[in-house]
Amino acid sequence: MAKQVGTRELDAQIASIGNGDMSALAALYRGVCSGVYSYALSVLKDCHDAEDVLQDTFLDIYKSAASYKSIGKPMAWVITIARSRCMMKLREKKRYISASAEDFQGLCDSSLSPEELATIKICIENLGEDEREIVILHAVSGLKHREVAQILDMPTSTVLSKYHRTIKKLKILLEGV
């Protein structure tokens, strides 16, 4: 469903969306939906909320694309919108929701293999907030470490260090799954 697209292409798509081009919105969706959804899922730990955020994020993108000024970081811009939406969702519910087996059953319906389901569960249940966000933003959303650092307001060195530590941790946790 999703494919990785280059920075320039994303910039062009956002510019087109700003001109009201719905096909560009569709293309942008295909390119970045997994990054947005994964990030939302990692923050909210709820697949339904993550889906809401995914939709709301694209609505926001559509509304604000005309004022988008390219600084060479379109994905960071998209994730910043998604992050804002996640924070709103958390405030709305005034609680952090722990992932439950039922939530992931919902994911399972979307043709996830048992191994994929286990991978997601481990990421969500065993990693800290920071760790989850850093790994998802880099490994799934495709942001650079320095972009992650900017979004999470952390030093780049800290993000780098946490990322590598978390990947090591995941290696151990996912062994044998």
Binding site: M1, A2, T7, E9, D11, A12, Q13, A15, S16, D21, M22, S23, A24, L25, A26, A27, L28, R30, C33, S34, Y37, S38, C47, E51, L54, Q55, F58, L59, Y62, K63, S70, G72, L107, S110, S111, L112, E115, E116, L117, T119, I120, C123, V135, I136, A139, V140, K144, H145, R146, A149, P155, T156, S157, L160, S161, H164, R165, I167, L170, K171
Partner: protein, 602 residues
């Protein structure tokens, strides 16, 4: 991307629900019209956008820019026409940011450099066939760049980029003690001011590793009237200039002009008719000294008395002289040669300053905390004295003066300075001048020191530190940042450059200084105090089994002190036999803190 990352990415990507139609419908509704989804093409419409410079290229330029801030533009090279290690370091970093590892690694490396992370480099001179090469290990944060560099041309022969987590952790810990650039917008602005220079150099390909294409001088000016940067680089007889937009950093216009009467740095690296090269200069100096400097430089056994050799040219546009400085044995040879004839214009011989400092410490048998040395009068003249002095951990200064010609000790001197004197020693060297309406560096440092003295009495009680301050002027526009680095405490203080008001002060205690135990109460006294304390209190000691010197975390109400030197008095506990217990006794004051049981089983 590693297997584990691919797995995570695949799992999350496959979990994404297909809500595209719903998204598009909502967007269309928001716009006030409904779009027929079935006619939607899958192919995105690409519109042309103005081409931008690739971020990575720019990052590489900035990375090297920051490093080059410390590199002299007078093209100092080491013996045998070799490039300096500093220049090699810049070439290695530049190459790594552009070529090594995957793109993520390169981007991270550049980001760390931009963030101001320290960069350390070690180099070993070796030979690949007849070609002299530097075997270099360069570290930035957790990244290690292992490379082989042609020592003459700085061409990177091979280079490998690796990442080490432990190294990163250490770098982060060290980095925490440094001022954070984000907190100093003016300083960041200064760095941004360097960026245009490297955009210019990048634009003209002046960043090549070919030596002759390295600009000998580059700088940036700010054109207030047009709000543009004007970046300049003098390279190989030409002055390159670029007008750069301050916000987008895009080049608006460029010019290249020829420098009149410019001989150029070609003289450094190749034989130009009518001029001696730097290599020739070294040969001439070696002959004058009666030493084969080439051979000495190639000696890797460590036996050679040659410590360093630096060649730099003065001003090729007019004066046409070359300076050669050789540190050889305990002497420094300082030559100036005519670039056209090779004639020796000046030849000074003087005692090498580090030698005098080492000799001073050796003479008195003290452990220095700081060094200093100077030549009195006109250095190089026979009989003129040279002085070396050291500050010691005992708070005294030791000074030895030598005869410059015979190396004989003329006099020795011991002086006891007050802590205030010691503390202000460096501060006196700071500028006492300041722009109108602002305080000077020296005043800012004095204010910071006074604040330190009045606030951290607890530290003085515990430790016998000597004051040794350094002041960094971060920006005149905002405030002055003082960093007073003491043996056991690091104290930072932000002083408003206009009012002198203390904006923020942060004392951070380092680990307790256990190297100098001269003021400590000793193990026996500690054991005695622990037993007294025990008898007056809980009486749990059955038998003292040992006393060790260590450190302990303490809290103090008037500062953020965290560690102090303590004697740990271990004892057998009247109770459970399988636990380790000890009293912590302050190593200086003898205060017994408490009985500590760590609950570990023997």
């Amino acid at each position: 991307m590693a297997k584990i990352e691919r797995r995570i990415k695949s799992a999350f990507t496959n979990a994404v629900p297909d809500v595209m139609d719903s998204v598009l419908k909502r967007c269309a509704e928001a716009k006030g019209q409904v779009t027929d989804m079935t006619n939607m093409t899958n192919k995105s419409q690409i519109i042309e956008v103005k081409s931008r410079r690739r971020p990575l290229i720019r990052i590489a330029a900035v990375a090297a820019a920051i490093l080059l801030l410390t590199v002299t533009v007078t093209a100092a090279v080491s013996l045998s026409g070799l490039q300096s290690v500093e220049d090699a370091k810049v070439a290695v970093l530049n190459h790594a940011v552009m070529n090594c590892g995957d793109e993520d690694d390169r981007d991270d490396l550049a980001a760390l450099i931009i963030s101001g992370m320290d960069c350390d480099s070690t180099a070993e001179l070796a030979f690949s066939g007849v070609r002299p090469v530097y075997k270099m290990r360069t570290t930035v944060g957790g990244f290690i760049i292992s490379s082989t560099v042609d020592a003459k041309t700085l061409v990177i022969l091979d280079s490998k980029l690796e990442y080490e987590e432990e190294l990163m952790e250490r770098a982060i810990a060290e980095d925490r003690a440094k001022p954070k650039l984000d907190e100093y917008p003016e300083y960041v602005s200064y760095l941004a001011g360097r960026q245009p220079v490297y955009i210019l150099r990048d634009h003209y390909g002046l960043f090549d590793t070919e030596v002759k294409n390295q600009p000998v001088q580059s700088w940036c000016e700010y054109d207030e009237s047009r709000e543009h940067y004007l970046a300049y680089a003098d390279c190989d007889g030409y002055r390159y200039m670029a007008e750069i937009d301050i916000e987008t950093l895009e080049i608006i216009s460029t010019t290249v002009t020829e420098l009149d009467g410019y001989v150029g740095e070609r003289v450094l690296h190749e034989k130009v008719d009518g001029y001696i090269s730097m290599v020739d200069a070294v040969k001439i100096v070696g002959e004058d000294m009666g030493v084969d400097l080439w051979k000495e430089a190639a000696d890797k056994s460590g036996d050679s008395p040659l410590k360093s050799l630096v060649v730099d040219y003065m001003e090729f546009k007019s004066e046409l002289t070359v300076n050669v400085r050789v540190d050889y044995d305990q002497y420094t040879f300082d030559y100036r040669l005519d670039c056209t004839t090779g004639e020796v214009i000046r030849a000074d011989i003087m005692l090498e300053l580090y030698y005098t400092m080492d000799k001073c410490a050796e003479y008195f048998g003290v452990t220095p905390t700081d060094f200093g040395a100077y030549h009195s009068g006109n250095s190089g003249e026979p009989g003129v004295t040279v002085a070396g002095f050291v500050l010691s951990t005992d708070g005294k200064t030791y000074k030895v003066t030598f005869d410059n010609e015979t190396c004989e000790i003329i006099s020795v001197e011991v002086d006891t300075l007050s802590e205030e004197d010691l503390g202000l020693r460096n501060i006196y060297t700071l500028s006492t001048e300041a722009p109108e309406g602002m305080i000077s560096e020296a005043e800012a440092a004095a204010i910071a020191l006074e604040n330190f003295e009045s606030n951290i009495t607890k530290a003085r009680e515990y430790f016998r530190f000597t004051l040794d301050g350094t002041v960094y002027r971060m920006s005149w526009g905002q405030y002055t940042f003082c960093n007073l680095d003491f043996p056991v405490i690091n104290y930072t203080c932000d002083v408003d450059a206009k009012t002198g008001e203390i904006l923020k002060s942060t004392p951070t205690l380092k680990h307790a200084d256990l190297s100098d135990t001269s003021g400590f109460i000793g193990k026996n006294k500690a054991a005695e105090l622990a037993r007294q304390y025990d008898e007056n209190g809980s009486a749990v000691i059955e038998k003292i089994t040992g006393v060790e010197l260590g450190e302990m975390c303490v809290s103090a109400s008037d500062s953020e002190l965290t560690y102090t030197a303590v004697y740990q008095v271990h004892f057998d506990y009247k109770g459970r036999e399988d636990q380790i217990w000890f009293y912590a006794v302050d190593a200086v004051t003898g205060e017994v803190y408490t009985a500590l049981g760590n609950g570990l089983y023997k």
